[in-house]
Symmetry: C2
Subunit: 442 residues, 2 copies
């Protein structure tokens, strides 16, 4: 052990975002998500976050409080050249370290302006002011350098607010200065994705397993996130050895696979359209999608995947009955007899697009997204999804929770999932199941 | 004046979100955005926000600091029944007010469980504990009631964390308790949207106008948000009179319309697909979209708008050359001679879908979204967009910034905008313009 020569290891951090514009509703502080992710990877956990406006007394109070309890305090923003950029002054006041102009920084800023044929405005001199003892972190993309200041056993890291400038600086600081001091081992993550269960169903079944995971030398923590017809489990484990972490996460993923079977569609972070794409590629198949109420969402998701032109040739959005008949060959008698939102029509749409696109598997989606168009018989949120191949014909009627955008998102996700199940061969003649909570019947 | 009988008016607030799960990267604290929006409407501004984990000392420190400087402190979360739900205890400690069990709350919680045929677990008793002097805000959707506590001239508002429970409670509290005490007049907003200018172009031109807006009795503040091929200006004005605020925002919007002409496509918060939909509806026209690289994004956006079945009948995603030929009737010689990503093919796609969909206006989009498929001649990000009607034929070649998802988003937005300009009659023979910064040539 080198003992006193080695700086103390960092385990906890706080993040302070500075700027009145961040306190107005449409703005999100996404910098702190990025920083948290990078810190977590190196085993540094975030203990608290704050957003403060451009008021010096608030900024000083928040930085002082953070420094009092946490080893690493990251302050984002407030390093610009104007009067309301207060981070340098606040840090100087909190630490009692005088600001001094650094000529090297000043020259760099002057050169940035000169390169654009401009003279540096006098206010930009502020950006060359550095608290005594701070290291300067160069900024290749803007005028504000970052600052690294060690103070009474704590570290203060000051970063510029624009994400394009902040991100590369964070990458560099993490690799060069934080990684060597991360004491707790790196954090390793795994994302699992489930379709066909509600959050409470997943929770009820998995909770006893989670509680076993947190016992033992490499505890696994879990965060659950839900979106329409999808439950995501974010597993993480802190370990010095990547191999051990990998093995632990692999075992945890296997536990979930055992609980959820084919409902667990991704154990490696892939999204549903990637999983479906891979199944198509494995078989050398093409897919055709005929969408009515989803209006192109399914096609949009499938083609978001690089290389999807290998298995997508033609998809159709057939909103009108006329297009269902003329483009997909749905018999007008079927439309008239059963209505556009019906199981025979969904199957005929799937068959039609399969034929028109010369694809081996077809999806047909027809439903009532709202806000108008519902009836007693077929209320808003009713969606019929058919998937057909040369050998399999599956059709399901769903009732999704209200709201046009939500109905469309549920329908797109469930349609892709039904295609996945048909491709896997697990969905040949499954009985209807009512999914409580979501109103999903499948 | 009723003087001392009237409680002090509220002008500033702080929001504290409680929960270790909010400090893990994928989670966003969206509650605070919702609360901020509602408070702002009543002229209450948010001075700072904090997120703290489930540590009692951190929570106490943050609540104590917020109470010391701000009149209204809203704490979200930490009201559940388990040991790591610490908000009640922390508030009791900070204010010195003892927690007492309220039998009314306890009965309500017991009834909630009984309604599901279950017995209340003993731990849920915690949720019936109330600091002395606090008013209980009933929660119809969960077991944790909200609490309103006036303490030494400040207000502490405690809300449950789940958004579904928090939101209706906020609406009620804002209407019943905060609106009468909002002293600064309500905040009125207006969102303007621009396509065809970069953020810096907008800023350069508009900055002198912004600075005039902040002078005078009703200053207008501006926040700028950008997304692919769109700049949003969020204007807000604080005024006691809705009519005065409306007139001020109307004048400000007119200033911008004067600066940006047809590039300013929305002055009332509508998104581009709504504006295009309205133009189609006004003319009684249908639109047909033939997408290659955008893969359904344009169709998905157009059909997101309620009632879009009035003007959308059939859209096609033609990824393969074969589909471009067989579905849209693009001559194979054109595809072979010019390549799929070319101006003649984009125009033929627009004409083809217009004919197949029996629409009055057609859009054809073909491009190279990447990551593969680029060449020296047609690098990644090259997208050709054609829009045709019986009378007008417009085609443009663009080079969008790299990244598959970004290229597709840029292309979808610009295609909808080009259709808008053709519908308005402002885009008949406009010269190509290179948009610096984005690499957009149009």
């Amino acid at each position: 052990m080198t003992g006193a020569l080695r700086p103390p290891s960092l385990r906890w951090a706080e993040i302070v975002a500075v700027g009145s514009e961040l306190l107005v509703p449409p703005r999100l502080d996404t910098n702190s998500l990025f920083i948290t992710e990078r810190l977590n990877e190196y085993g540094i956990e975030v203990r608290a976050k704050a957003i403060v406006g451009d008021r010096r007394e608030d900024l000083e109070a928040v930085v002082r409080a953070a420094l009092a309890r946490t080893e690493l305090v990251v302050v984002c923003g407030g390093l610009g050249p104007t009067d309301d950029d207060l981070t340098r002054d606040a840090v100087s006041a909190v630490t009692g370290r005088t600001l001094r102009e650094q000529s090297g920084i000043l020259d760099g800023i002057r050169q940035r302006f000169a390169a654009r044929g401009a003279r540096m405005p006098e206010i930009n001199r502020r950006q060359a002011m550095v608290p005594e003892g701070a290291d300067v972190i160069p900024n290749g993309l803007g005028t504000a350098p970052g600052l690294w200041l060690e103070h009474e056993g704590r570290v203060l890291l000051l970063l510029p607010g624009p994400p394009a400038e902040l991100k590369p600086m964070v990458e560099r600081v993490v690799a060069e200065r934080l990684a060597p001091r991360a004491g707790g081992g790196r954090l390793h993550r795994r994302v699992l994705r489930i379709c066909g269960r509600t959050e409470s169903e997943v929770d009820e079944r998995a909770a006893p397993v989670y509680s076993r995971w947190v016992i033992g030398p490499l505890p696994v923590s879990t965060t659950v996130l839900t979106s329409p017809a999808q439950v995501e489990l974010h597993l993480s484990v802190r370990a010095a050895s990547a191999a051990e972490a990998h093995a632990r996460l692999e075992a945890a993923a296997a536990d979930m696979a055992c609980l959820f079977g084919a409902d667990l569609f991704s154990m490696d972070g892939r999204v549903l359209e990637e999983v479906v794409g891979q199944l198509l590629r494995d078989r050398g198949w093409h897919i055709g999608v005929a969408e009515s109420c989803t209006g192109g969402l399914i096609s949009g998701r499938l083609t978001e995947v690089p290389g999807s032109s290998d298995y997508v040739g033609f998809n159709a959005v057939c909103y009108s009955n006329q297009a269902k008949a003329s483009v997909l060959g749905v018999p007008p008698a079927l439309l008239a007899g059963h209505g556009a939102v019906s199981e025979p029509v969904a199957l005929a749409m799937a068959d039609g697009i399969r034929q028109r696109a010369a694809a081996e598997i077809g999806i047909g989606v027809t439903g009532i997204a709202g806000p108008a168009g519902g009836s007693d018989d077929k209320p808003l949120g009713t969606v019929v999804i058919g998937v057909t191949t040369a050998d399999v014909r599956v059709v399901r009627t769903y009732r999704f929770p209200a709201g046009r955008a939500r109905v469309r998102q549920f329908a797109a996700q469930i349609a892709l999932d039904l295609a996945r199940r048909v491709l896997l061969g697990v969905e040949a003649g499954r009985a209807f199941v009512f999914m409580p909570g979501t109103g999903v019947r499948r």
